[in-house]
Amino acid sequence: MTTMEKLVLPKLGIRKLIIGMLAEHRFFGPVDDDGATLFKQIKDPAELDLTFTNSTVPPKALLFKQTETLFKFSLGRSVKIDPVDITNERTIIFGIRPCDAKSLAILDQVFKGDYEDPFYLTRRKNTVLIGLSCTQPGVNCFCTSFKDGPASSENVDVLLTDIGEKYYVEVRSDKGKHLIASMKELLRSAKAEDENNVTYVEEKAIAAITRNMNIEGMVNKLDKMFENSLWKTIAMKCLGCGVCTYLCPTCNCFDIQDETALEKGARVRVWDSCMYPEYTLQASGHNPRPERVNRIRNRVYHKFNYCPKNYGVTACVGCGRCIDNCPVNIDIIDVINKAGEAKV
């Protein structure tokens, strides 16, 4: 989808733009929540904090909820299932970073397919993504390692880039076009000078990204090093907590459990982590992945070997959250680069 329109929006207009959107949409944006930045529903543009680098919990949590009721049931002799009506309220996620938007494109592939996941896909269909380019990438950002950038707009409907006292507005999809149509009076068409500013801002942001992960030929390399000692070395440090998977925008693993209260109950889907031993523990006591080395190797292979084989895309967008939040500094860039250099 090439860029349809190139416009600019004076910063003063952003408030009116959002108020216009708040009218008929549930509007989610980055909010400072006691030190952690989260995507929350807001009622007033003032609640937004647009100085954030990236949110602690990725916006994936708005579509693939951490706790989701699949259906309710009543127990007793006559069991009855009452399905949950999957809300299709129109939603806007404002301020989503290009890497998180790409992660949604990756998750689409998992939740589509021969069995479609109605919860995620209904919300996805009814959500408009208004991206915000990164002008100050984080310490561990490495989206440029995946031929993406802090201002790439493939996976958003509208991309805003802060170019000083204006926002450069790129409309990339019909959804975006439709949304912007009703607010045309706030926008003006972009001039050449704005174009230069955008390229300048983008290049400055790209230059600020110092970290690089070399994933050239990584799928084949990993095929050859399943038994390599690198995994054991990394696994020694790992605590097996769920931080890296819970905060990863491309992780989609979940658990399904029943919750009951005497004569009624519900089947609930919750996030799960392949780093927990119970993830693959069988009732017989057999566990195909009993040790941390099996689990951490599986997590790396899932993202850099299995997903490329199954869906043709590396399940990593370079957001750096797993690096920032790992208690023992297991650094996925360091891991993959070491895998690249390993003698096989």
Binding site: L70, F71, F73, L75, R77, S78, V79, I81, P83, V84, I86, V110, F111, G113, D114, Y115, E116, D117, P118, L121, T122, K125, D223, F226, N252, C253, F254, D255, I256, Q257, D258, T260, G265, R267, R269, D272, C274, Y279, T280, L281, Q282, A283, S284, H286, P288, R289, N294, N298, Y301, H302, N305, Y306, C307, K309, N310
Partner: protein, 279 residues
């Protein structure tokens, strides 16, 4: 978009047969879907599985142990082991549970027509094989020589005893039962299933071997089959992993990049040989 693949169809437990008593009890549940037309349209092939859910306890991924030739119902054989299976063992006929599926691939019964078949089962692993065996026995003429090699820890742990004894009476197939430990009154083979297989010594010519049982047994059965001259295309197995969604979304049942619930549970040894992953 409102089809919810996680929502099961309601089914009634029509009949419960106790196959094995003792510490590791196994019961076969005969499930009948409540809705008439769904019951007719529910078609499956041997080897496919269903997610059986007991509301309030959870869900389990079971191989359908009845043959598709038996219309109007499906059977699953449940060994009492964990939270949901224990709850299933408390059920009585008439209870209502949930069924969704069929999931996974199946045994390639059409491609195997005209071939000799050898089935090597261990313990509860006989459940998916029973579906296949009964299906092939129903279409006996289409297949060559048939050998059923099945073993369990004790004679009491042998599942589907009645059916096996009927098969033993037939002259157009061989049944080779075994138990792990010597028991008084047991005249057949004593020892592990892989050793029993070596003793039966099926010829690999134009033969398909299908095995299912605990991972450790599958490992040695495959080794012995290779010793007997079977090639990797002739060896098939069904695998078991912890399952939650059954439709390839929840990520946990992977062996390498293959999902047991979607790309399996039936795998050829050729597939498994060059897939790197933990079973």
């Amino acid at each position: 978009m409102n089809v919810n693949p996680y929502q099961p169809l309601l089914a009634t437990i029509d009949e419960i047969r106790l196959e094995v008593a003792g510490e590791r009890p196994i019961k076969t549940l005969k499930l009948v879907l409540q809705e008439e037309d769904l019951r007719k349209r529910f078609s499956y092939l041997p080897g496919q599985c269903v997610m059986v859910s007991l509301f309030g306890a959870g869900e389990c991924f079971f191989a359908i142990s009845s043959s598709p030739t038996q219309k109007g119902y499906i059977e699953v054989s449940v060994m009492k082991l964990g939270k949901v299976t224990s709850a299933l063992h408390e059920c009585e006929p008439g209870d209502v549970i949930g069924v969704r599926g069929p999931y996974g691939n199946s045994f390639d019964v059409d491609a195997w027509q005209g071939k000799n078949m050898v089935f090597i089962g261990g313990g509860i692993g006989q459940a998916p094989l029973r579906s296949l065996i009964n299906y092939i026995v129903e279409n006996r003429k289409k297949y060559g020589k048939i050998d059923v090699v099945y073993g369990a820890r004790t004679s009491e742990d042998l599942c589907f005893k009645k059916e096996l004894s009927e098969l033993e009476k037939r002259d157009d197939l061989g049944v080779h039962l075994s138990i792990d430990v010597e028991e008084e009154g047991w005249k057949k083979f004593v020892g592990f299933v892989p050793d029993n297989l070596l003793q039966v010594k099926p010829s690999p010519k134009n033969t398909i071997a299908v095995t299912c049982g605990p991972p450790i047994m599958i490992k040695f059965v495959i080794q012995n089959l290779l010793k007997l001259g079977f090639t990797e295309e002739q060896i098939f197995t069904t695998l078991e992993m912890r399952m939650k969604c059954g439709i390839g979304k929840c990520g946990r049942c992977n062996i390498g990049n293959l999902f047991v619930c979607k790309d399996g549970p039936v795998f050829s040894y050729k597939q498994l040989k060059n897939i790197q992953g933990e079973m």
